[in-house]
Each structure stands twice: as structure tokens, then as C-alpha cells.
Amino acid sequence: MKDDVCIRNLEKDFNGFKAVNNLSLRVKHGEIYGLLGPNGAGKTTAIRILCGLLRPSSGEAYVLGTKVPDPGVAQNIGYMPQELALYRNLTVHENLAFYGEVFGLSKRQIETREQALLKLVDLETSKNLLVDELSGGMQHRISLACTLLHEPQVLFLDEPTVGVDPDLRASFWRYFEELRDAGITMLITTHYMDEARHCDRIGFMRGGRLIAEGSARELLELTHTDSLEGAFLVYSRTEGLQ
């Protein structure tokens, strides 16, 4: 199966600080890849490079076979930044309509997809509320809806479940699995180790490097631990010893 995302020896240097250090990884088509690691591990930087927001210092990154940054890729990717990226003075509908127009959707397309997405995130009744009036969890769901509106083939979700209550987290992961089953590729960063078991493959990141990679089961077996957090700590210690 072809790789929708491919990173080779990627490095990103911010004034002498290596945020991403010799990172290589591949995300297969229709796969959920979880990038796990503590704050400052370089996950967000890696995602921003893939979305064309940052230029790599060295190495290469490809999305859907195109070397990024490349404006041609934008139409096919969906990016959900950590900061939610919503206009607080606009209503839910106005936010969705704006992002839809930016992606060149017709009014009718926006309407149909908006209806389906609001149903998916269970916010059909909030369409005309200002984003500012919504709870944090509701804002997260709208942010996800904005990311999905143009039906991207690859999703880059940066900490989509931070500050989200457990119920909503569970339903987020249900959406993600549904989307995967519909053939959408996803690269998700999180520092909630536990929820990464929903991912098909997991990469542990620390200090800008990939320190281990595999399915949740493989990582648990190899480290003889019963939680991904435990597995991460094992790899983190070995990495520290090297």
C-alpha cells in the first residue's frame, strides 16, 4: 500500500535548538498514525512542516507524493491546530461557511456537508450560536468539523483531544475510526498515551527524535509493559542511556 505521508531524515532547527532531529516515518494510506510524546517532543513542529507552515532545515517531507511545502497539496489535507483555530465572533455556521469558501466549496456543498458534520459532532442545534458562547468541548467539535468540511484525504490533527472530557474523547476516537474506515489517512499527535491504543501504528517521540515505532500491541510486548505509558518510559530510559 502506498504511503500518504513520508518523512525522511527531517530536521528543524530554531536558532540552534533542534525541535525535530533526524525524523523519518511513513503513514500508510487509510491508517491512523499516532505521534506520542511529552510537550516539546517536536510533534507540532513535524505536523507544521507537513502542512507547509514551516520549512525543514534539512531532510524531506512528502504528503500524497508531493514534496512539501507545496501549495498544490493544501486542497487535500485537513489541519486541526492545537489552538482550535475558530473565529470567536462568528457563529458556528459562519465559521464553517468561511472555511468552506476558502476551500472553494459551493454554497450547496457547504450546506449539505455542514448538516452531516454537525450531526456527526452532535451540534445540530448550535448552528447559529457564536463560537464564543460555546463550551470548550463544543468548540473542539466545531474545530474538527471545520477540518473535515472539504473532505480531505489526509488529516493532520494536533492534540485534538487536549482539554476534552473523557466522554467526548471517546466519541472523537469513534469518529476517527469511522473516517479511517472511509479511507482517510490520519496523523494524530497526543500526549494522552492511553488513547493511542486506537491508532494502527504509534511513534514515540522525544527530544525531536523518533525513539520507537510499532502497533500498540508490538510496543507493549517488546517492553513487557501493560500500558503505553509504561512502554514509553522504557524506551525513554533506554534512549537516555544511549
Binding site: 507552515l53 520549512r55 489535507i77 489541519y79 491546530p81 475558530l86 465572533n89 459562519e94 468561511f98 476551500f103
Partner: protein, 376 residues
């Protein structure tokens, strides 16, 4: 450049404004307040200034020239009181209860008549009215001097004597009946649009950066240039709306005269708003938070306020400072809008200012786009 994507940005900015009452108030009510305050403060002429007259003039027969002059004083400006001695009058000026002492010499009428009939032996002191004013505030002392001079001239004329030479300034090339507010109102409108547009773009763009929306947009097919142009159109529209409100207020509240084509003036102001928008976006890339953005405000506002000819012409600014005036976009906007509104000039006459603004707009928008496109 995809026009529909740029237009989506324009709609977004305008909707944002529509939903945020505080921003709307900032855009419309704040400048209205400013123009009202300036209008009230600067249109009020000096009134009811207390002066003390010491009239030692004995007159000739029944007639006294000094009484005629005093009766010709504009009583809306001067509130006349009398004293018996010069020292008493000056004392009142010294203690602040009066603004000037006006002293007529004892043989004033007699000496003036003698001199008028050709007698050269009359001592000049006997025909001189002494005006001892508190000149520490020229805004008060100048009108006193002018009023007394006018009264003297009127009195002499009333006697049927013509001055050997005279000036007639009753006809004007431009600005007949213009008050000071007619001069500065166009400037205030330009400065209000300049300041608020820069501030709003600056804050909106810092917001786009901190809320992550800018990341989402830059990861979408929207091009940086489309974002900049979309914002420019929105703020051009807002600038026109603002200036329409301000100009209406100036006309209704302060009877500001409009001679020229209002639409042309609005066009110039929209262009200035676009220049300001470009500046706001550029400045936003140097601020990480809104609080940092606000710190740029004095740099944006003060030079424009003082050096672009709003209250006094560029020619009155020291020569070494003038280059600063010429690099301020507001200098050209103020000049163009004032010429249109007050002198009735058309595009054929204000085109140099319009070209200057177009160059500013072009350079600022391109720089704003480049700064947005810059990737670390």
C-alpha cells in the same frame, strides 16, 4: 489570485465586525467623540474677556473720540470695566481679574483732531492708546488687540476719513466663510480612519496568529495575497462607512462646508484605509500578543497626528522635520481630502496625492504579503 477566496475573507472580516458590538462602537463612536471634542474645543472663539479701560480723555466739547472707540468694541469679545488710574488697571491684570488694561491719554480727542488737521507738533504719545495685556496666552491677547484695532479703524472711518491705503479681503479664492474646523475636519477624519484601521488590522492579525486561524488558513488553498486583499477590501469598505458617518457629523454638528465631490473624498479615504491595513498586517508580524500590538499605537498615531498637516500646514513644520511628513501616507490623504472638500478640487488636481497613496498601498500590501509568506 482567486477573487472568490479573497471575497470570502472580506465577508469574514465584515461579519466579525457585525457580531462584535464593541468593535463597532470603536469604529464609529470613538471617532465621532473625537471629532466632537475637537469641534467644540476649536470652534469656540474667545468670548467675554474682561478688560479695564482707563479713560483720561477730556474730549472736545461734547464729543469724545475715546467714547466712540469704546462703543465700537465688539462686546461679545470684550467685557469692558473701568478704572481711574493706570496702576489700578494694571494691578487688575496682574492679579488675574482682567486680561488687559486699555489706557487713553488725557488729550486724546484733541490731539487726534489736531494731528488730522495737519499740525505736526502734536506729541505721538497723546494720540496713542496704550494696551497693556497679559500676553502669556496669545489665544486671549491676540483677539483683544485685534478687537481694539478694529474698533479704532471703524471709528476713524465713521468720521468720514479714509485711510490712505487699505486691504479688502472679503472675497476668497477658496474657503469663503471657512472656520478653523473646516480646515481640520478633513484631517481628523483621515487620522481617525488611519489610526483605527491600523489598530483593528493589527489586533485582528495578532488574533489570527494566536487563535491558530492563520495556521489553518495558510495550510489551506488560500494564498497570502488573497488574505491581504480580502482584508484590504473589507477595511476599504469600513473606511468609507466611517468617513461617511464622520463627515455627516461634521456637517450636522459643526456646519462644515463641503464644496467638492464627496465620493472622490471617500475614494481617497478608502485608499488610505488600505494603506493602513497593509501597515497593520506588517506590524502584526512583530507582535506576539495583543498587548504588544497596542504598544505600536503611539508610533502610528502621533507622527501622523502632528506632522501630516491636520492642524497646521506642512510649510509650518521645521524644515528638518518635513521629510518625516513626506513619508507619512496621511500627509497625502489629508491634503487630498481637504482640497476636495474645501476647495472643490477634482482628480485632475489631486492626482499627485492619489498616486502617492497608490504607491504606499502597493508597497505596503506587497510587504505584508511577503511577511506572511515568510516561513521559518
Amino acid at each position: 489570485m482567486n477573487a472568490s477566496r479573497a471575497f470570502a475573507v472580506t465577508k469574514r472580516v465584515l461579519r466579525d465586525l457585525k457580531n462584535d458590538r464593541r468593535q463597532l462602537a470603536l469604529i464609529f463612536i470613538a471617532p465621532l467623540l473625537v471629532i466632537s471634542i475637537f469641534g467644540v474645543a476649536f470652534t469656540g472663539s474667545v468670548k467675554d474677556v474682561r478688560v479695564v479701560v482707563v479713560n483720561g480723555d477730556t474730549g472736545v466739547g461734547n464729543s469724545s473720540l475715546s467714547d466712540k472707540i469704546i462703543s465700537n468694541f465688539d462686546t461679545s469679545v470684550l467685557n469692558v470695566a473701568y478704572a481711574n488710574s493706570e496702576s489700578d488697571a494694571v494691578g487688575q491684570v496682574q492679579n488675574g481679574s482682567a486680561s488687559a488694561a486699555i489706557v487713553f491719554p488725557s488729550h486724546f480727542t484733541q490731539s487726534v483732531v489736531a494731528r488730522a488737521s495737519g499740525q505736526t507738533s502734536v506729541a505721538p504719545a497723546n494720540t496713542t492708546i496704550t494696551l497693556l495685556a497679559d500676553k502669556s496666552n496669545p489665544n486671549v491677547s491676540d483677539p483683544i488687540i485685534a478687537t481694539v484695532n478694529t474698533a479704532v479703524a471703524q471709528t476713524i472711518q465713521g468720521l468720514g476719513r479714509q485711510a490712505p491705503a487699505s486691504v479688502d479681503s472679503s472675497n476668497a479664492v477658496y474657503g469663503a466663510n471657512a472656520q478653523f474646523i473646516d480646515f481640520f475636519a478633513p484631517g481628523i477624519i483621515c487620522i481617525a480612519v488611519w489610526q483605527l484601521t491600523t489598530l483593528l488590522t493589527l489586533i485582528s492579525f495578532v488574533g489570527e496568529r494566536t487563535s491558530g486561524t492563520l495556521f489553518r488558513l495558510l495550510a489551506s488553498p488560500l494564498k497570502e495575497s488573497e488574505l491581504v486583499v480580502g482584508y484590504a477590501v473589507a477595511f476599504g469598505i469600513i473606511g468609507i462607512a466611517q468617513s461617511a458617518v464622520l463627515l455627516s457629523a461634521a456637517v450636522i454638528l459643526f456646519h462644515v462646508t463641503i464644496v467638492g465631490d464627496v465620493l472622490l473624498a471617500f475614494g481617497v479615504i478608502a485608499l488610505l484605509a488600505i494603506v493602513s491595513e497593509g501597515l497593520g498586517i506588517m506590524l502584526s508580524s512583530f507582535a506576539r500578543r495583543e498587548a504588544q500590538a497596542i504598544q505600536f499605537l503611539p508610533i502610528v498615531v502621533l507622527p501622523a497626528f502632528l506632522l501630516s498637516g491636520v492642524f497646521w500646514p506642512i510649510q509650518a513644520i521645521p524644515e528638518w522635520l518635513r521629510p518625516v511628513s513626506y513619508v507619512l501616507p496621511t500627509t497625502y490623504a489629508v491634503e487630498a481630502v481637504r482640497s476636495v472638500i474645501l476647495r472643490g478640487w477634482g482628480l485632475d488636481k489631486i492626482y499627485p496625492d492619489v498616486i502617492a497613496l497608490l504607491i504606499f498601498a502597493g508597497v505596503f500590501l506587497v510587504l505584508a504579503t511577503i511577511l506572511l509568506r515568510r516561513r521559518e
